[in-house]
């Protein structure tokens, strides 16, 4: 029986401790580490604490598309070709996003968070890892409908300059609007969604009134510092790309950037329950990952 013949074969090759050992010095593992180290030293982008599995997938894609067999060939090109590095960076940033992604989350923002914000004369909000801006304008729409947008300043940051350009322009394919409108309605939105855009030639441009309170800028969560005195921080679907060490760095950064009583809003499948800052927060609602900062001090 094939199972049995295979048993012997597997038995012969499956020395587990051997696997772990060989992985440390096999050529592929070594060249992978060298690649990350080279990018970091040459360009200041540090990917060493990104989740390995999807990082490897993206680096493999970049390597194959450039026609290289080996990571060391890719590294050589990256060290010496500035234009190629800009091109390469696109592979390293996942920009997949939507307006009102996770409608249930935006409903809680509207019903539970905004009423508290309204007790302040003025609030500051930070979207970290805002990608192409859809999430930022979703919040702007809610604040606008709640008559509160002119009392808010929204800082939206990312480390992908091309995404920031798109976000700044606020122009999206009309073809995406149906999905966005459906999300908007299931998040509790009741107005005609198309009112927020002017459309022409297959493109939809977000209305200026939603952009006036928003500032887009470059910020790298791995290397850059605190963004002060925020009432709310959104960082959604960014931390899943980081390992635990880097997640904790980001959590500390957020905690030090958040006012007492401020809110940290994470993606639906992200949590700070396993983080070093957990004791500074309480979750405001069962399912949505919205955490209120309760502790006083910084970390």
């Amino acid at each position: 029986m094939s199972l049995m013949s295979r048993d012997i074969e597997v038995g012969a090759e499956a020395d587990v401790s051997g696997v772990a050992l060989s992985q440390q010095n096999d050529p592929e593992a070594v060249s992978f580490e060298l690649l990350l180290e080279g990018i970091k030293r040459r360009w200041g982008y540090d990917f060493t604490h990104y989740s390995r599995a999807s990082l490897k997938r993206r680096l493999d894609q970049a390597r194959r598309d450039a026609g290289y067999e080996r990571y060391t060939e890719l590294l050589d090109r990256l060290l010496h070709d500035d234009a190629f590095f800009d091109h390469f960076l696109k592979y390293m940033s996942i920009t997949v996003t939507e307006m009102f992604r996770d409608p249930a989350f935006y409903r809680v923002v509207r019903e539970r968070v905004v009423p508290i914000l309204k007790t302040f004369p003025f609030v500051k909000i930070w979207h970290a890892g805002c990608a192409t801006g859809e999430e930022v304008y979703s919040l702007a729409i809610i604040l606008h409908e709640e008559g509160f947008l002119d009392r808010a300043t929204i800082y939206a940051t990312d480390f992908n300059k091309q995404s920031l350009d798109v976000a700044q322009r606020g122009v999206y394919p009309v073809a995406h609007l149906d999905q966005h409108a459906a999300n908007y309605r299931s998040s509790g939105g009741t107005r005609p969604f198309s009112d927020y855009f002017s459309s022409a030639y297959g493109l939809a441009k977000i209305k200026n009134v939603l952009k006036e309170r928003v500032t887009f800028s470059y910020h790298n969560l791995v290397t850059d510092g605190v963004f002060g005195e925020m009432n709310v921080i959104f960082c959604r679907n960014v931390l899943i790309y980081f390992d635990k060490t880097l997640q904790n760095r980001a959590f500390e950064l957020f905690t030090n950037s958040l006012r007492h009583g401020g809110f940290l809003c994470l993606g639906t499948k992200e949590t700070l329950n396993f983080s070093s800052v957990k004791r500074h927060y309480e979750q405001i609602e069962g399912r949505c990952k919205i955490f209120k900062k309760c502790g006083t001090g910084d970390v």
């Binding site: 597997v10 038995g11 587990v16 996942i94 992200e270």
Partner: protein, 190 residues
């Protein structure tokens, strides 16, 4: 000696997963990572349901969670599920692969990189081609490939495509998979 199981399943998955997980004994010692194609905004009902009729633990996989033996982990709706080299899970919202997120190929490829020859990969019922490439990758790393006999699949396309793309170690009727897994879990070093 096998250390983990990865399962990919699509249309017809509810019944198929029930038939695979249901009969596994409480003592089953391997972790099982599962991608079942599912609507993006679904909740974690599937994990609860399967857990209620299995002796092993069934839960939705969480980001950076360590894989534990005797537990079946389901990819959350709308997220790719990947296995890290240190055998924890990562989630991602990368583009869809084969029109799917979660994608079976992504789980299989990352799990094969993490577990090498100690991984068992299984393709069950489904109506698309996701999983074939991943199963080839599992074989390429020396792992063990099982395909559900398409004749016993609610949707035969996915297992048929997988079987055509790789020399599977076993092509078996659905009902025999739990027994086979128990046998494989008991394989020890010679």
């Amino acid at each position: 000696m096998f250390e983990a199981v990865a399962i990919g399943v699509s249309a017809g998955g509810l019944r198929a997963l029930r038939s695979v997980l249901g009969p596994l004994p409480e003592s089953f010692r391997l972790p099982i990572a599962i991608v079942q194609h599912i609507e993006a905004n679904s909740d974690d009902y599937l994990a609860e349901y399967l857990g209620s009729l299995s002796s092993i633990r069934v839960k939705e996989a969480e980001d950076k969670e360590a894989m534990e033996g005797g537990t079946a982990y389901l990819a959350p709706a709308g997220y790719h599920l990947l296995v890290e080299p240190d055998r924890t899970f990562s989630l991602s919202v990368d583009d869809k692969v084969n029109y799917c997120r979660p994608s079976i190929d992504l789980l299989f490829e990352s799990a094969a990189d993490a577990f090498g020859a100690t991984l068992v990969g299984i393709v069950l019922t489904g109506a698309n081609g996701d999983g074939s490439k991943g199963l080839r990758h599992i074989k390429g790393r020396g792992g063990y490939a099982i395909v559900q006999d398409p004749a016993t699949a609610e949707a035969p396309y996915m297992p048929r495509t997988a079987a055509a793309g790789v020399a599977a170690d076993r092509i078996v009727p659905l009902e025999e998979i739990p027994k086979l897994l128990v046998q494989l879990a008991q394989v020890t070093r010679q």
